[in-house]
Amino acid sequence: MQQLPEKPQEADVTQLLIEVSEGDAAAVNRLLPLVYNELRRLASSYLQRERAGHTLQATALVHEAWLRLVDQTRVEWRNRAHFFGVAAQMMRRILVDHARAHVAEKRGGGAVHVSLDNELEISNERHAELIAIDEALTALARFDPMKSQIVELRFFGGLSVEEIAAVLNSSTATVNRHWRMARAWLYSHITGARADEQE
């Protein structure tokens, strides 16, 4: 993990993005693994040192991947929007996988030596929440994929409302409206589910 390779696949990602912008839907599928691998590599180099304490934002990760993967001289704003859309989806997967692995490790009982400081407690709680959000989001996607995607872009991808509007070719007002309801629905879904569990 120490040695970062030279910008991997630069030409491919840039070219694929341009094809996506030109309406080639199949290009998205070829783009996904490239972006996933890069994000995963970047994220794991940060997450491995998680316990040391750090502040890391999805936005920063996604931006870093953007810089590494894409030839900046060849792309325009719309390509950037598409890239971030794909990256958000991939970030979700990476973060949720990481949270799952973390929770599994705890349950496996192999981590008793970890000191119980506040920082770690918060972080554990956060892992559980992340998994819950992911599951609720998958449920939401079944009947309102638009809202699910907006949540993905904003929460997991760290995109601003304006960026999301650009990705979805929509207005900021619409994005805000969807976000508001999706968040309410997810909150009620998760808290409701927890309440059910407790009953």
């Binding site: 998680e50 750090h54 934002q57």
Partner: protein, 804 residues
């Protein structure tokens, strides 16, 4: 839930939230119209919306507490409290417990988890920048090293105080007091600039006032060297974009365009705006690059006098007029329209403080004035001036220290960057000679270092060879503005050829041979009358012929005619007219065959005309000049450039000379007058155009000579003297230039002939003697013979005249 019900629920949810809270419950009941399940869903959603609190407001990765280094050691330093947290590092109060430094200091260390290669590199650079700077208004670097776990840290003077803006606001300082503080900040930034460092992240949080009231500039975290060296893998424009602070970013930073000293001028303008008004000029509050672009690149700030808040200068009317114009000039969106250096900015403020007229004008006036200057030209010149002002204050030692630290790759890139990026920017700037000489000197040093190890990598050899060729052209390519170091140019050309030949041994290719031919041809023109030059020109033709035979690709078909043309030129300079004619005939034929642009045909014709004239066959010359004129007249219909007009005027001039030699003086004068009109127009268009000025001297010489033959004494001498005067000017301005000296000789010879014809023997002898000396020095046998012929011939006719 069905899609229909879901979208109905959505409608109700949105409509409910649009209402004031107390009305919501009754609205929900009404909207659901007795559908109990729908109502339950809607109620739950609205309740969830109100009760969700911070749910999902923070992205999953944005958390975790900073590490605590308190009590730990870093080298001889003992770490105390956390002072601050930046983008890549944390700053701690630290003391040195061995007593070597009595005061508290600030210790900056990369945050753990952030010690990637890129960030570590950036951090090292910041340390390096600080080490280069020594100014009372810049926080001083004290020490540096690595922590026990290997992270780099550095220690600097501890600056305790507050941001410059707050300092002014809290104390309700008067305008003059605020400006005085700001001028100190300018001095600090100017010091960085004179060390070739651009800060790039100037903002109130980086300009502190200490408790003692002293300005201190902090945080060179994203600064960069103005001259490109130490190329960093992350130095993409976009990378800078991620690190910048949008509210204090310049338009070019948002747009990913090159950052110059004018970028710091802009940021200082923003700081001054905020110091004076108490409001931000760029109110960027969102995290959206779209908003940044709109606000930073497209929105003009409100006039300071209209933006004064409580913290600003009172009364706000005090900000109207000059001071407002100064601030707004620094905040121009286009870098070229700002102050080009921080000094200029500061000087204008000083002028304001001293009650003198300032340079900044209200925008509309400034704009109107500027429209008279061609826009591109201005932009280029301004950029170049920045380079110059920096190069002027350049410390050689600093440069060398920096260079010594860098490895091979950097040196290579630096040489290339100097030649390809920096030099072109200043090439046409009057007075840039010193900076250009320095660039050449440094580049040669780098290249010599590079080639000391006798490299055999073709890519490297190619680069080196290109660099030597570029240097040679700067030193002494007579076709463009050069430094007049012709001996140096020859050395560089020979080096360039040498490395090309080495490539040919390792990886021969037609393209490489093409380059060798080109280098030979260019080198031949430096000292056109030497044997080496002729040898070079012939070698070039030999390669051209070989390529035409073995690699007759369309893209290199120009090599043969170009080298033939070059040979013709050298032969012309060496006055071997018959061989020159042969070379130009072949060149022209080749150009026509490959349909090379028609101006190549006509330039061959002009040289043919000239050489036939030298051989005493003016009727042949008339043919060639007429043919050239035909082609050029056609070309001028499409091509309105000064260049096309200049070329055409050469055709007219050639015709004038040819008719003069044929004794058809009326016709000759007519053509010469046409030439004169064109040249006057061209010279007026661009007073700096050397070619136009030279051309004017040419035609003055021709007209003077024709008029003398017509017996128009006074007018003739006026023209000839003007021509000689201009020629002397050129010879003085460009020493070691055989061509200028030759042309001076020709003007003198023409004058000698004219004086003879006009019966002024003494003056004729005087001019002839000077011309003779020049021709002898230049080895111009034919011209010498022609001079003697002219003098004798005219002497005979004068004698005849005297006998009557």
């Amino acid at each position: 839930m069905t899609p229909e019900r879901w979208s109905r629920l959505e409608e109700i949810f949105d409509a409910a939230l649009a209402r004031p809270e107390p009305e919501r419950e009754s609205f929900l009941a009404e909207a659901c119209g007795g559908d109990a399940e729908l109502l339950a869903h809607a109620r739950r959603l609205v309740a969830a919306h109100d009760g969700a609190g911070a749910f999902m407001n923070t992205p999953p990765l944005a958390e975790a507490a900073p590490e605590d280094l308190k009590g730990q050691r870093a080298g001889p330093w003992l770490i105390e409290d956390l002072i601050g947290r930046g983008g890549m590092g944390t700053v701690w109060r630290a003391v040195r417990d061995d007593g070597a430094y009595a005061h508290e200091a600030a210790l900056k260390v990369i945050r753990r988890g952030f010690d990637s290669a890129e960030i570590t590199e950036r951090f090292r650079r910041e340390r390096q920048f600080l080490a280069l700077l020594n100014h009372p208004n810049i926080a001083r670097l004290l020490d540096g090293g690595a922590t026990a776990d290997g992270r780099p840290f550095y220690v600097m003077e501890l600056v305790e105080g507050e941001p410059i803006t707050e300092w002014c606001w809290k104390r309700k300082l008067a305008l003059r007091e605020r400006l005085r503080l700001f001028l100190d900040a300018c001095a600090a930034v100017a010091h960085a600039h004179s060390n070739l460092i651009i800060h790039r992240d100037l903002k109130p949080a980086n300009i502190f006032i200490t408790r003692e009231g002293l300005v201190k500039l902090l945080d060179f975290g994203i600064a960069k060297f103005f001259l490109p060296d130490l190329p960093s893998p992350i130095e993409t424009q976009a990378a800078q974009g991620v690190m910048l602070t949008p509210a204090y970013a310049a338009p070019e930073q948002i747009a990913g365009q090159p950052v110059t000293t004018a970028t710091d001028v802009y940021a200082l303008g923003l700081v001054l705006y905020e110091m004076l008004t108490g409001s931000r000029a760029q109110d960027v509050t969102t995290n959206s690059p779209l908003d940044w672009r709109r606000i930073v690149c497209e929105t003009a700030p409100a006039r300071p006098s209209a933006a004064v808040s409580e913290s600003g200068v009172h009364p706000p009317s005090g900000l109207r007029g000059d001071i407002e114009n100064i601030v707004l000039k620094a905040l121009q969106k286009e870098p070229a329209r700002r102050y080009q250096t921080v000094q200029q900015f500061a000087e204008d403020l000083e002028r304001f403080l001293n009650g003198l007229p300032v340079k900044a004008r209200a925008d509309s006036l400034y704009y109107r004035a500027e429209r008279f200057v061609r826009r591109n030209k201005l932009a280029v010149a301004s950029a170049a001036l920045v380079v110059l002002s920096l190069a002027g204050g350049l410390a050689v030692a600093l440069y060398q220290a920096r260079i010594a630290a860098y490895h091979f790759q950097s040196v290579k890139s630096l040489a290339t960057a100097l030649l390809n990026e920096i030099h072109p920017a200043i090439e046409d700037v009057p007075g840039a000679t010193k900076a250009r000489l320095l660039i050449v000197k440094r580049s040669l040093e780098y290249l010599d270092k590079l080639t000391a190890a006798n490299p055999r990598d073709p890519a490297l050899l190619t680069e080196v060879s290109q660099a030597y060729a570029a240097i040679a052209a700067i030193q002494g390519n007579r076709n463009r503005s050069n430094l007049g170091d012709y001996a140096g140019a020859m050395r560089s050309y020979r080096k360039s050829i040498e490395f090309r030949k080495r490539i040919e041994e390792i990886a021969p290719s037609p393209r490489n041979r093409q380059w060798i031919a080109l280098m030979y041809a260019e080198a031949a023109r430096v000292y056109p009358t030497t044997d080496e030059s002729l040898e070079f020109a012939r070698s070039a033709v030999a390669i051209g012929e070989e390529l035409a035979l073995t690699a007759p690709g369309k893209h290199d078909a120009w090599v043969l005619p170009n080298t033939l043309f070059g040979l013709g030129y050298i032969l012309t300079q060496q006055e071997d007219a018959p061989r020159a004619i042969e070379a130009f005939e072949r060149a022209r034929k080749n150009y026509v065959e490959i349909r090379r642009r028609s101006n190549h045909w006509s330039v061959c014709d002009r040289y043919l005309g000239l050489n036939w004239l030298v051989l005493g066959r003016p009727e042949k010359s008339v043919f060639h000049y007429k043919r050239a004129l035909e082609v050029d007249t056609e070309r001028m219909k499409k091509d309105k450039s000064p260049r096309a007009e200049m070329d055409t005027s050469y055709d007219y001039e050639g015709l004038a000379r040819s008719y003069e030699a044929l004794g058809r003086l009326e016709q000759a004068l007519e053509q010469a007058r046409v030439t004169e009109r064109m040249r006057l127009r061209l010279a007026a268009q661009d007073p700096n155009d050397q070619r136009a000025r030279l051309g004017l001297a040419d035609v003055e010489e021709v007209i003077g000579s024709i008029l003398s033959r017509m017996g128009k004494k006074a007018e003739s001498l006026r023209y000839l003297n003007r021509a000689i005067e201009a020629r002397r000017g050129f010879v003085q301005a460009t020493p070691d230039s055989p061509e200028d000296e030759y042309e001076l000789g020709r003007a003198l010879a023409a004058a000698a002939g004219a004086y003879r014809r006009l019966g002024q023997a003494n003056l004729a002898q005087e001019h002839a003697a000077e011309a003779r000396a020049l021709f002898k020095k230049l080895g111009r046998g034919l011209s010498l013979a022609a001079l003697e012929r002219e003098v004798t011939e005219v002497t005979a006719s004068t004698r005849d005249g005297g006998a009557h």
